[in-house]
């Protein structure tokens, strides 16, 4: 073998490389190369994928990068020879990214010396340090640079890099570099500087260049490469190109043989929290759990808990995760000490250890959960604990980690934002010179998600017709389709955090994030999982913030906040409220689908809530699990198990497989799988392309069942049931953890509605409904509201005189700075006084007037008129402070409907009356019924209702059906719009106010109207 490619870019050289890491490896294998180096620009984003592909293909992965030096000094190609070299590579990349704008890098040359050990440096491409100096006709300077780099990296570790791409000046440059190498007795190496696999990929590379540089192709000029030679050449081609430099080719093999650096595999060593003297992490964890066991578990149940705890702690200890649990425990403890509402969610709620540590809220034994769903000996990936924090205080938790463990040991996971249909269409279109307005139209028309679908997009075809068949459009669509899945830019993972006992930069390069005081490792969550790194998800949940605010309001009223952790989930009044359908603002159960289910479902216990949360999901709906369950629950269908041994696992869900944990239990009870094996089966069921794996599991399942005296046909039928439902099942632990929050929110709504709705309104937008719907619902149960007031309103909603006072934050366009200005300057004596002392911008002042916040100064219309004069006076006070008669105008005051409309336009909320009152006359003329009265009518009766359309849903799985929620002052009703009606009354379904004529459908307590006409009003 004559050649190894040591300079190759994947598409992780953002907008400068075309092939995936896997494609590069595949090509190297095809060329029979024993190794391949990946050298993306200033990054190791693709290192884990590259490593995995190389391992699978049996070739050696060499980790490197093309580093950008500061001061326009050019590029340097670095390859990690040793593990120390790999660490230095990560550190150099981190330093290069430090203090730079997002997406750029510039390494000060001075820091190279401290981080050169274990690295092999190549002098770079045409943009390399030496080539630049030679191009600028400074051979002496190039010589000095080369000597310095040789000294820095070592003579055996610095190679002069030769490249030939049939560009003008290649030969002269290579000859000059050879001369330089001879003078300094430095070795040569030939590289391909691969940016794409084939010449046919060169146009795509040009488009990427234009996207990166934000120019059209016709204006790109020298930004584009002059030919299509930056492809992955065969060793034979390289041999022909470098025939006069055979040593340069041979050295590629020498270098490849020397490079032995490995990808740092996880799990990483986590930072240790402070432990009591003489105690290690596992022992401390055990002690904490046992202490909690004493206080949280009744003595009678203790043996089962102790046994479960011992089993969990054994597995945790084997997998060396004790410290991980302690880190999470410490974070949650910090949050609770600060009064930040938080709780764990997801599969971690299956863990008794997590429960006893106070991380998760659900007793897993009482809830019938399975630890192995979270962690087992058989599990091949690291566990992941997700913690929800009150959204407005999540940053405190994140900064606590940064401060406690140090910024060198703490970072967030990145996320790679990739091209989708619209972004690909727009960016490729701009590069190809399409007019922005035309691209806007195209992007508005397209409803495909993946860019790969663009050439066959029916939505684009509907918008543009035969125009799409022209060569230019076809060029655009094909080019945009090729961008599918390409990384576009780097983002920050929502909450994934990485901790490491060693400085992170020894293992993964770290970049500063756009957000202040944040940094991100260069691996996304998939890369971290591939490399087996542990992360911790620090997530924000607005409902927790709303609950927290509600509790504070209760505390203001009663003197102490309610102790939610002491609630016992058995308040009949709470369940009765839910069963009446009063669910707006209640976590996870307020959607129209949930509202339609509740009257039939009638939840009466915590277990019911858990089922309800898991049931209304796309998966169970699609897999037709919902109706069988409801039929069995209502007794209309018998509960039948395919085998008696399934009763224990499926009894709680009446024979329907709803929870992921039930897959584990069925596999255990029927086929003797261990819980860990059951979890592997569960994962295979949820993977679309695991058919080979599933077949293996099927055979084992049937064999195991037969060993337990279950006949093969029954076993086969059960396995088919697992296949049909298992892939769509939901984690019970996750549902149960959420059910806790659901219960808390319902409890607060039931017992402290005023404070609860105030809490909800403090943290909008959230939930399923717009704020005005939340307000209307609150008014229906007697909650009073006070409008925005310039003298009394705070930024956020407050509770005042047994009513909810809307905050200044609800006024359209009023930002935090404006609000602070108003709060500092008030009280105000007049409009003029306000303008003079704050100089609030006109749009914001107009919004305040329209919202009614300045009603204390006069009639709104008169104030609007006075506004212009006030600004003029504030700028240039007149000699005599008297308005002239000529500046007065006789204006009619706003009528009540106009006031209501103005208030809604300015705040999104109406306090005085329901929005539907704006169309009262039209509804009355049409003879509409009050929505609240519908349940008193008979099923199938023709009805006409009118109101505000508050939600419109057309789920892709609903076969063209449209679901509206219509609200009047008395309540909400679901409107079901069949496809043919939607096609005819599309504008009505999208109008703010609508008149719906149809037939009433009463179904087990649920009320729907099946629309025959939907007309805008």
């Amino acid at each position: 073998m004559s050649y190894v490619e040591l300079h190759a870019h994947s598409y992780y050289s953002l907008l400068d490389g075309v092939p995936t890491p896997e494609a590069l490896v595949a090509q190297a294998v095809q060329y029979q190369m024993p190794a391949l180096a990946l050298t993306d620009h200033d990054a190791l984003y693709g290192a884990p994928r590259f490593w995995r592909a190389a391992q699978a293909a049996g070739i050696k992965p060499i980790f490197g990068c093309e580093l950008t030096l500061a001061g326009a000094a050019g590029h340097l190609t670095l390859l990690a020879e040793t593990q120390a070299g790999y660490a230095n590579l990560c550190q150099l990349i981190t330093l290069a990214r430090n203090a730079q704008t997002k997406g750029s890098a510039a390494l000060p040359r001075a820091v190279l010396a401290a981080h050169s050990a274990g690295l092999i440096a190549l002098s770079g491409c045409r943009g390399g340090v030496l080539a630049q100096a030679l191009r600028q006709r400074q051979p002496e300077h190039a010589l000095q640079l080369a000597a310095r780099l040789a000294q820095l990296f070592g003579r055996n570790n610095f190679f002069i890099e030769l490249q030939r791409h049939h560009e003008r000046g290649d030969r002269a440059r290579n000859c000059a570099l050879q001369t330089l190498a001879s003078q300094l007795q430095l070795p040569l190496v030939a590289t391909g500087n691969v940016h794409y696999l084939e010449s046919t990929d060169a146009p795509l590379h040009d488009v990427l260049t234009c996207i990166r540089s934000r120019v059209a192709l016709e204006h790109a000029g020298s930004l584009l490469r002059t030919n299509a030679e930056y492809r992955f050449r065969t060793p034979q081609e390289m041999a022909a190109l470098f025939a006069e430099w055979p040593a340069a080719l041979a050295n590629t093999l020498v270098i490849a043989a020397r490079c032995q650096a490995q990808l740092p595999h996880g799990p990483q060593q986590l930072p240790k929290i402070e432990l009591p003297p003489g105690v290690n992490a596992a022992e401390y964890l055990t002690a904490l759990c046992q202490a909690a066991l004493q206080t949280r578990v009744a003595a009678a149940a203790a043996p089962a808990y102790r046994e479960t705890l011992a089993r969990e702690l054994e597995i945790i200890s084997e997998q060396q995760l004790a410290n991980y649990f302690l880190v999470v425990w410490d974070l949650v403890r910090f949050a609770r000490q600060r009064g930040i509402l938080c709780q764990g969610r997801g599969s971690a709620a299956n863990s008794l250890t997590a429960y006893l540590l106070g991380i998760t809220p659900v007793d897993p034994l009482a809830a019938g959960l399975v630890f192995e769903r979270f962690l087992s000996r058989e599990r091949i990936t690291q566990p992941d604990i997700d913690i929800d924090f009150a959204a407005d205080r999540r940053e405190e938790a994140i900064q606590y980690l940064y401060q406690k463990y140090g910024p060198a040991h703490t970072a967030m996971a990145c996320t790679m934002i990739t091209f989708r249909a619209r972004s690909a269409l727009r960016d490729a279109g701009l590069a190809l010179g399409f007019a922005p307005a035309l691209l806007d139209r195209a992007c508005a028309a397209v409803d495909d998600y993946s860019a790969g679908r663009l050439p066959d997009s029916s939505s684009l075809r509907a918008a543009f017709g035969a125009q799409l068949d022209t060569p230019r459009w076809q060029q655009l669509l094909q080019m945009a389709a090729r961008l599918a899945g390409f990384p576009r830019h780097l983002g920050l993972h929502n909450g994934g955090m990485i901790l490491c006992a060693q400085p992170l930069t020894q293992h993964i390069p770290v970049e500063p994030a756009s957000m202040e005081a944040r940094s991100a490792v260069q691996w996304d969550k998939d890369a971290l999982e591939m490399a087996d790194w542990i992360k911790l998800d620090v997530l924000g949940l607005r409902m927790l913030s709303a609950i927290d605010s509600a509790c504070r309001f209760v505390s203001q009223h009663t003197g102490s906040p309610p102790d939610l952790s002491a609630l016992s989930f058995d308040d009949a009044g709470v369940y009765a409220m839910l069963c009446r359908g009063e669910t707006i603002g209640v976590f996870q159960v307020e959607s129209r689908a949930q509202a339609a289910l509740i009257p039939k479902f009638q939840p009466r216990s915590f277990a019911d809530l858990t089922v309800q949360i898991a049931l209304i999901r796309p998966g169970p709906v699609q897999a037709n699990m919902v109706h069988p369950y409801l039929r069995r629950r209502s007794g209309r269908e018998p509960v039948v198990h395919l085998h008696p041994s399934l009763a224990a696992a499926l009894g709680e869900t009446l024979g329907v497989i709803l929870f992921q944990e039930q897959v584990l239990k069925v596999a255990r009870d029927l086929a003797g799988f261990s819980a860990g094996e059951g979890e592997l089966l569960r994962r295979a069921l949820s993977h679309k392309h695991a058919s080979a794996q599933l077949e293996t599991f099927r055979q084992r399942f049937i064999a195991g069942a037969q060993q337990r005296a279950v006949n093969a046909d029954t076993a086969q039928a059960v396995f088919e049931q697992l296949k049909a439902f298992g892939g769509y099942s939901f984690s019970k632990a996750h549902a149960a953890a959420f059910a806790v929050i659901t219960y808390w929110s319902a409890w607060l709504r039931h017992h402290h509605p005023l404070q609860y709705f105030a809490g909800l309104l403090c943290h909008q937008p959230m939930g399923f409904y717009a704020p005005h719907v939340v307000v209307s619902d609150a008014r229906r149960i007697g909650v009073r509201f006070l409008p925005v007031h310039i003298q009394h309103s705070q930024a956020a909603v407050t509770v005042e005189q047994n009513a909810i006072r809307l905050g200044l934050g609800y006024v359209d366009g009023l930002g935090a700075a404006h609000i602070e200005l108003l709060e500092r300057a008030r009280p105000f004596h007049s409009l003029l006084d306000l303008v003079q002392r704050t100089r609030l911008p006109r749009p914001q002042l107009e919004a305040l007037i329209l919202a009614g916040a300045l009603d204390c100064f006069g009639e709104r219309r008169a104030l609007l008129w006075e506004m212009a004069g006030a600004y003029r006076t504030a700028q240039r006070p007149p000699a005599l402070p008297l308005p002239t008669a000529d500046e007065h105008a006789q204006l009619h005051p706003l009528q009540p409907a106009e006031r209501l409309a103005a208030e809604y336009a300015a705040t999104g909320i109406t306090v005085a009356a329901h929005l539907s009152s704006l169309r009262r006359a039209a509804f009355a003329a049409a003879g509409t019924r009050q929505i609240a009265s519908l349940r008193t009518l008979r099923n199938g009766q023709p009805v006409t209702v009118g109101g505000v359309i508050v939600t419109v849903q057309r789920p892709p799985t609903a076969k063209g059906m449209c679901f509206l929620a219509l609200e009047d002052s008395s309540g909400l009703v679901n409107i079901v719009v069949p496809p043919q009606v939607y096609a005819q009354y599309r504008s009505g379904c999208r109008a703010p106010f609508a008149l719906v004529c149809g037939r009433l459908q009463l179904d087990g307590g649920a009320v729907h109207v099946v629309a025959q006409r939907v007309e805008p009003v």
């Binding site: 560009e167 003008r168 192709l217 000029g221 007019a435 230019r472 609007l864 008129w865 004069g869 000529d886």
Partner: protein
């Protein structure tokens, strides 16, 4: 002694001229709302009152029409016919009123200075009837006529006349009573009223011109500054705008007959290029820029094909129009049948409108030569070919075609230089490089050789994949 002549302006407006013509042509559509849509940009040119009441406005997209007024019949605009009628009407008015007294404002809308003409006709009503009689042979459509002391009031009078179902006569607004006449009309009657000003007036509860006119001028100035005062004056029936007898034509059109047997698309592009040059010359002669360009190809087989695009910024530059026309032609299906190619520039504006300081030095270029090339390109787009004819003499010399005998590997061995400069034997190839660019429009694939000929002369040759061997006469900056 000087007499102040009393100003009297007649507004003659064929409302919905396009719709009216189409209804005449297709009476079977009488019962349906009618919307005329321009083919090349699928935008509404004209909408009947029913469609307008449903929210369809000129300039709206076709899809919007389908949403707002699904029962409307959408007809392709026959712009030739509308322009011909408009021109004929203008000619008749010129004959009627005399040169210098007629302003063609928009399609089917004219202003005529009739001050002093009444004496010839007896009364303004008689004048209007005579005018109708003069126009009747031109078109059976009935115009609305309004006569008032200024253009705005006359236009509103015509609109009121039209709303009243005009069949004869005119709506006369006596001198001094413009304000009273305008008072009940909506604010939207004010021409090009800024949306923000309309919004604020409505916020103040003002919905009619009378409401607005009733405001003290000082108050209007305080609220809306000078622009508001102009509209305030209009609302009060005061319009000082003079009649403009010399306005740019609504469109300019050039067409060219295509022979049968058009070999390929390139030939069509060549025709389009020549047409674009003619059109640009016509624009420059009229001192106007075009804001849109439409291309129509009508071949003997198949339906007419149209495409168009806005020209931003407006220009009269031949190369830009040529490139636009060629891009638009890419959308067409081409056959070998004979036909007609037509370019239309419209609507037109005076060249100085919208002028701004151009950005001459673009960003993001690496080399001085690139800066120069891009600056030249920017100047060309802004100021047209005449400027660039001067600049092009500074451009690189054109490559010269050569005869070359090449070796099996493609490298040149023997070169016959042009212009009797003799034959040179290549002693050695000093350098080879390859260029592959402009794949998105006209791909360039060239292989360059820097050779040393016998005798020491250095030559740069290239082989173009389509055009053969050339001598490259550029020198590096």
């Amino acid at each position: 002694m000087f007499y102040k002549t009393r100003t009297r302006i007649l507004c003659l407006h064929y409302f919905n001229l396009a719709v009216g013509l189409e209804r005449q042509r297709q009476p079977e559509l009488a019962a349906r709302p009618l919307v005329v849509v321009r083919i090349w940009d699928a935008q509404v040119l004209d909408a009947c009152p029913l469609a307008a009441a449903a929210g369809v406005q000129p300039g709206a997209a076709r899809r919007r029409v389908e949403q707002l007024c699904p029962e409307a019949a959408l007809l392709p605009a026959a712009e030739d016919d509308y322009q011909q009628l408009h021109a004929a009407l203008r000619t008749t008015l010129l004959h009627f009123a005399g040169a210098g007294r007629v302003e063609a404002a928009a399609l089917g809308e004219f202003y005529v200075d009739v001050a002093g003409l009444t004496s010839a006709f007896g009364s303004e009503t008689d004048l209007a009837e005579q005018l109708r009689a003069a126009l009747a042979p031109v078109t059976a459509l009935a115009p609305a006529i309004g006569i008032a002391e200024n253009k705005f009031t006359a236009a509103r009078a015509a609109a009121a006349h039209h709303a009243a179902g005009c069949a004869s006569g005119a709506l006369l607004v006596a001198g001094g009573s413009a304000a009273e006449f305008l008072a009940p009309q909506p604010l939207q009657a004010l021409p090009n009223l800024p949306a923000e000003m309309l919004r604020r007036l409505q916020l103040f509860g003002l919905h009619t011109l009378g409401n607005f006119a009733a405001l003290p001028a000082a108050a209007v100035a305080t609220q809306f500054d000078a622009a508001g005062l102009c509209y305030h004056a209009l609302a009060r029936g005061r319009d000082a705008r003079p009649l403009l007898p010399h306005t740019p034509p609504l469109i300019l059109r050039c067409s060219h007959a295509l022979p049968e047997g058009l070999p390929d698309r390139q030939a069509l592009h060549n025709h389009a290029g020549r047409l674009a040059q003619r059109l640009a010359a016509a624009l420059q002669a009229a001192s106007v820029h075009t804001t849109a360009l439409a291309v129509e190809l009508q071949q003997d087989t198949g339906p007419a094909q149209q495409a168009g695009a806005a020209v931003k910024p407006p220009c009269a530059d031949a190369r830009r129009l040529q490139r636009m026309a060629q891009r638009l032609l890419e959308q067409f299906e081409l056959t070998t049948a004979a036909g007609t190619l037509r370019l239309t520039a419209y609507p037109l504006r005076a060249w100085h409108l919208g002028a701004s300081q151009p950005e001459l030095l673009p960003e993001r270029t690496a080399r001085p030569s690139d800066n120069m090339h891009q600056t030249v390109r920017a100047l060309r787009q802004r100021f047209g070919a005449p400027v660039m004819q001067l600049a092009s003499t500074l451009g690189p010399p054109q490559p010269l075609p050569l005869q070359v005998r090449s070796a099996p590997d493609g490298s040149p061995q023997l070169v016959r230089l042009p212009k009797n400069n003799g034959t040179r034997t290549v002693q050695q190839v000093l350098e080879f490089w390859r260029e592959q660019r402009s794949w998105w429009e006209q791909p360039v694939q060239r292989e360059y050789y820097l050779v040393e000929a016998v005798g020491g002369r250095l030559l740069t040759l290239f082989h173009d994949a389509r055009a053969g061997w050339f001598l490259d006469r550029r020198c590096e900056l």
